[in-house]
Assembly symmetry: C2
Homo-oligomer: 142 residues x 2
DNA sequence: TCAATAGTTTAGAATTATTATAATGTAGAT
DNA sequence: ATCTACATTATAATAATTCTAAACTATTGA
């Protein structure tokens, strides 16, 4: 709240015009204690229900992708046919709660450094991501 | 070729009726040297073009999911809005070639055992999957 | 062997996530 | 204040997947 000029500056820094919609989205995404994991749908809901901002769906998609391209957001690969995004753009791993479909960040210290022994000729490694799927202890897994 | 009775038996073993379509799909998927990674689209194409089998799209979906539920196939999480499947159902990791969108299996020996130091109360770990994204060495990454 | 039935296949409609389009609006430079 | 390039918007289009309901078939057991 009142950090808006920060967002305006930050947007400008990476070459994104600080439009009303983008600033509002920044507020929703980054005025938080913890990193935030969401789907486009989650975000649209938050914007309209909590913030009373009806930003067009196309704009939300455009803006999320603009943010991703500029390193403001990171896309996370969970199964299914839905994209998850993460406001924590540093290299880190995740837990995925299969009961609640919730993503949880891993600190670097939670998982030892991963050593890749295989090499693919002519290719370089862009990223190494670990996904740990968890579920209720008492529940049978499919 | 001629392994069909094997497939019929195997299907029966896990409680799937060995229909003509399912047996054909088994042939395409499992009469191979190496494990096979595919999308539904790939599979439909293979069936119709190489095998001259026009199995309805809905059946391919149903059958792939039936196979997955019974442990004949494993779903792999890559980004995007497409599901990838793997005929190698054992716990293993993957390389994903971002240039060709190809999946490559990792042997167990390619990646050291991963130690998860974090615990989520009341939850048990179902799987730990590593995805290593690679791309052409000379190509700038997005 | 044959009918009953429970599970399967199918074409097509419906749904869901996402992207494209083209008209209108707005930020930033002059 | 005006221009221009970039943004936003509603809506249409596309793509992947699931649903539906009718027709079909493998299995069971009389």
């Amino acid at each position: 709240m009142s950090k808006n000029c920060n967002f305006i500056e930050k947007l400008r820094e990476v070459g994104l015009r600080p439009t009303k919609q983008r600033v509002k989205m920044c507020e929703v995404l980054y005025n938080r204690e913890k990193t935030f994991h969401f789907t486009i749908n989650d975000l649209v809901k938050l914007l309209s229900e909590k913030m009373n901002e009806k930003i067009s769906l196309a704009t939300v998609y455009n803006t999320v992708h603009a943010f991703e391209k500029k390193g403001y957001l990171k896309e996370i690969s969970i199964d299914s046919h839905k994209s998850y995004f993460d406001t924590n753009t540093s290299a880190h791993h995740h837990f995925f709660d299969e009961d609640t479909h919730e993503l949880i960040d891993c600190d670097e210290s939670d998982i030892e450094k991963i050593n890749i022994r295989k090499n693919i000729t002519g290719k370089k490694i862009n990223s190494v991501e670990v996904l740990v799927r968890v579920a209720s202890d008492n529940q049978t897994h499919k």
